[in-house]
């Protein structure tokens, strides 16, 4: 069963499972309790904190555990806005940020005043730095959000340059590194981000935990109040087992990074070559295939394991059904609350039409991916394409049913 949907959720690494099991099988105390079992639980949490901090080159004291990447993004955006004076609540985000950032920012300015400006991106999904700079209001912009690499098309962003621009305008920079933290990785000092959002399950840890890495001295207000855990920034009893899994996944991802990046990039190259053979008309979203590096198969400046391709004339919904029936798991660029495939805001921001966006499939590889997975997926795509006749356009199909 080829699983090519690591960007949605990576399978749990065996090391993460092994780290979690003791805390599920045996009684675990509240890590805030002042007794022996409590201290033992706290010890596991702090081990995880060190492992997660190391993944991004941060100090353990900078790590605030959350329920996931979405909560980390919300805490960063809303917590920053709440800490600012009413006249200084302007926000800038790239147009291709995750909805956890965009919707949190829209909600913050709607509830608290201010304004959200979307910085445009080019055809590859890379932010236009001049456009971003022009959006800044020195002294009044509270936060700039720019992800490390996009979750739908994989394009890496110039985070260090954006951080410098943000700093000059007196704003903090939020870098959503949910996709990039494992591979290719992100170093806090090198990019100069003030806030970094992480999620365990994209690394091969469990769902339900993540972290916001916060620069020392940054003024941030909590969204969840209660027992004052996580230095008052995120109350709530810490999930010891899940955090142990998060830490273990980070601890494995860090040393394997150097070998893993070229390995998955080669697999992606093999996948793209196979898909092209099956459908010569396909187009690649993200960094242009003209830049395909024949040595390591990387597309350059993108997540090495992610491939977003458009099959002209084929609905992503139809392809996903046929691939699912063939046992291949992958995804369309974007899904709405009901689960339907919708035209992705990322692809639209990159200049694709809605119908082009709805012809896009995302394949993503990770720690467990093999050549056999890739080859099986290519075979299944070939068979699916043979079933599905290419349609001229969405508009024509809407009326193809005709009257009875």
């Amino acid at each position: 069963m080829p699983y090519l949907d690591y960007a949605a959720s990576a399978p749990l690494r065996p090391e993460a499972l092994a780290a979690m099991l003791p805390f599920l099988e045996q009684p675990v105390a509240n890590p805030s309790s002042q007794h022996g079992p409590g201290r033992a639980a706290r010890g596991a949490v702090e081990t995880a904190r060190e492992q997660v901090a190391a993944l991004v080159g941060a100090a353990p004291s900078q790590v605030v555990f959350t329920s996931g990447g979405t909560e980390a993004d919300n805490l960063a955006v809303k917590g920053t806005v709440l800490a600012r004076e009413p006249g200084a609540r302007y926000l800038v985000a790239s147009a291709v940020e995750h909805h956890a950032v965009l919707d949190a920012a829209e909600s913050a300015v709607a509830d608290l005043g201010g304004e959200l400006t979307l910085a445009p991106v080019d055809q590859t999904g890379r932010v236009d730095l001049a456009g971003l700079e022009a959006s800044l209001r020195p002294g009044r912009t509270a936060l700039v959000a720019l992800m490390a690499a996009n979750n739908e098309v994989g394009t890496a962003q110039p985070v260090a340059e954006a951080a410098a621009l943000a700093r000059r305008a007196g704003a903090v920079l939020l870098c959503d590194a949910v996709q990039a933290a494992g591979t290719p990785g992100l170093d806090l000092d090198a990019v100069g981000a003030d806030l970094v959002a992480l999620a365990a399950h994209k690394l091969g840890g469990p769902t339900g935990v993540g972290a916001l890495v916060v620069r020392q001295g940054l003024d941030l207000r909590p969204l969840v109040h209660g027992g004052g855990q996580e230095r008052g920034l995120r109350s709530g009893t810490l999930p010891v087992a899940a955090l142990a899994g998060f830490g273990a996944a980070a601890a494995v991802a860090l040393p394997e990074r150097a070998a893993h990046a070229p390995r998955v990039a080669r697999l992606r190259g093999r996948l793209l070559a196979g898909l092209r053979a099956a459908e010569p008309a396909l187009t690649v979203n993200g960094n242009p295939t003209g830049g395909l590096d024949q040595r390591d198969g990387s597309l350059g400046g993108s997540l090495p394991g992610l491939l977003s391709v458009r099959f002209p004339g084929r609905r992503a919904e139809d392809l996903l059904l046929l691939l699912d029936r063939a046992g291949v798991a992958c995804s369309a660029g974007s899904a709405c609350a009901s689960g339907a495939v919708t035209a992705s805001h990322v692809l639209l921001a990159m200049g694709r039409t809605p119908s082009e966006a709805r012809e896009t499939i995302r394949f993503s590889l990770g720690w467990g991916s093999t050549e056999a997975d890739v080859d099986d997926a290519v075979d299944a795509v070939g068979r699916a394409l043979a079933v599905l006749p290419a349609r001229p356009s969405q508009a024509a199909a809407a009326h193809a049913g005709g009257a009875g």
């Binding site: 046929l322 029936r325 009901s338 339907a340 969405q394 193809a400 049913g401 009875g404």
Partner: protein
């Protein structure tokens, strides 16, 4: 079923019929899926997302296709052990059903959006998509029966939905399965309860699904704005005023805003002059009706002869003589006067339980003055 059932997509050999079942999240389509699974079919569930409904509200409209309905359908599919997908038909639905609904009211017609939806989206459109994906058949939770490729009324006359499926032809009926058409509603609920489906006790949805509050007049007013005009009698005498001709349907009695010694009914809606023509109940009766876009379930075109016709979703049936006029048009000479026929509604022809076909009511000839 004609031909070998092959599903080229996964390279598996021919097996049991592969059926795509449209699951709205209601009890009827849930049970339709369950019955097909029990019959040994290879069943796949699909939920059509027809509108952009807010996802964050716990209190949602009562109409269909909310996120909660998609969740219910998904859960039923999981309990039944079948794959399940949600397909975005928002654009198709907006164009083919919602926009058409508004345009028909603007013409002074009273459309039947469910018939239109079945024709363009839920049955004919979806069946074409299912066939393209290698499915042998499409199944829905409609109450009607398909026997030997012909369409019949449901076994439960109280639930019969054959009226909104009249436009199906032989090429569709050959690949359509309506598993609950043999059952009564209580039987359907009992099956859902026996299988532990969470939709077993779900209430019915009666309203137009894209107008969940049921206020069609308000919905049209938001779309068209107020369009004041006169309420007149059939002699042209002004009796009052109204805020929009689209608020009125032939046969309507309430909300006319006029004082008259005897009840007045809407006889005609004339959008061009913004006039709503009202009269006595006896003036409503029609003797002759014209259909456009007429079709037959056997695909052979309307033939002259006697039939029974239903002119409203829940109305009585009346005997008639069908007179084909060519070009998809037909005249129906009714055996007896029939009250309140609204242009835009479906006119569906029956021979006993067999659905012969039908069309859209386009014109009507009123009965001469009673006793005349």
């Amino acid at each position: 079923m004609s031909g070998a059932a092959t599903f080229q997509g996964d390279g598996r050999p021919a097996g049991p019929p592969r059926v795509l079942v449209s699951m709205s999240g209601g009890v009827d389509s849930s049970v339709a899926a369950a019955l097909l699974v029990e019959q040994g079919c290879d069943v796949t569930g699909v939920h059509l997302k027809l509108a952009d409904t807010p996802a964050n509200a716990m209190v949602q409209g009562k109409g269909c296709c909310t996120v909660a309905d998609a969740d219910d359908a998904r859960r039923v599919a999981e309990v039944l052990g079948i794959p399940f997908y949600v397909w975005d038909f928002v654009e198709e639905f907006q164009q083919a059903v919602v926009a058409d609904f508004a345009a028909e009211y603007a013409r002074g017609h009273t459309p039947n959006p469910c018939a239109r939806c079945n024709e363009q989206v839920k049955v004919v459109g979806l069946l074409a998509r299912a066939r393209a994906l290698g499915f042998d058949a499409l199944a829905t939770g409609h109450y009607a029966r398909v026997v030997d490729g012909r369409l019949y009324r449901a076994a439960d006359p109280a639930k019969d939905q054959s009226y909104v499926l009249y436009m199906l032809g032989p090429s569709e009926l050959a690949h359509l399965r309506l598993p609950v058409g043999e059952l009564t509603k209580p039987e359907v609920r009992a099956i859902a309860a026996r299988l532990g489906l969470r939709t077993a006790a779900k209430p019915e949805s009666y309203d137009v699904c894209f107008i969940p509050d049921g206020d069609t007049a308000g919905w049209l007013e938001r779309r068209f704005g107020r369009q004041p005009g006169a309420v007149v009698d059939s002699a042209g005498q002004v009796l009052g005023s109204h805020q929009g001709a689209y608020r009125y349907t032939v046969g309507q009695r309430r909300g006319l805003g006029i004082a008259a010694p005897t009840p007045r009914y809407v006889l005609r809606v004339e959008p061009a002059s913004r006039q709503v023509v009202v009269g006595e109940r006896s003036e409503l009766a029609v003797r002759t009706v014209e259909l456009e876009r007429a079709s037959t379930t056997d695909g052979r075109g309307l033939r002259a002869g006697p039939a029974r016709v239903r002119l409203r979703a829940h109305g009585d049936e009346v005997g008639c003589e069908v007179v084909p006029l060519g070009d998809g048009r037909a005249r129906l000479d009714l055996d007896e006067p029939y009250g309140a026929v609204a242009p835009g509604q479906a006119g569906v022809l029956y021979d006993g339980d067999l659905v012969l076909g039908g069309g859209t009511v386009t014109a009507q000839v009123h009965d001469p003055v009673p006793g005349g």
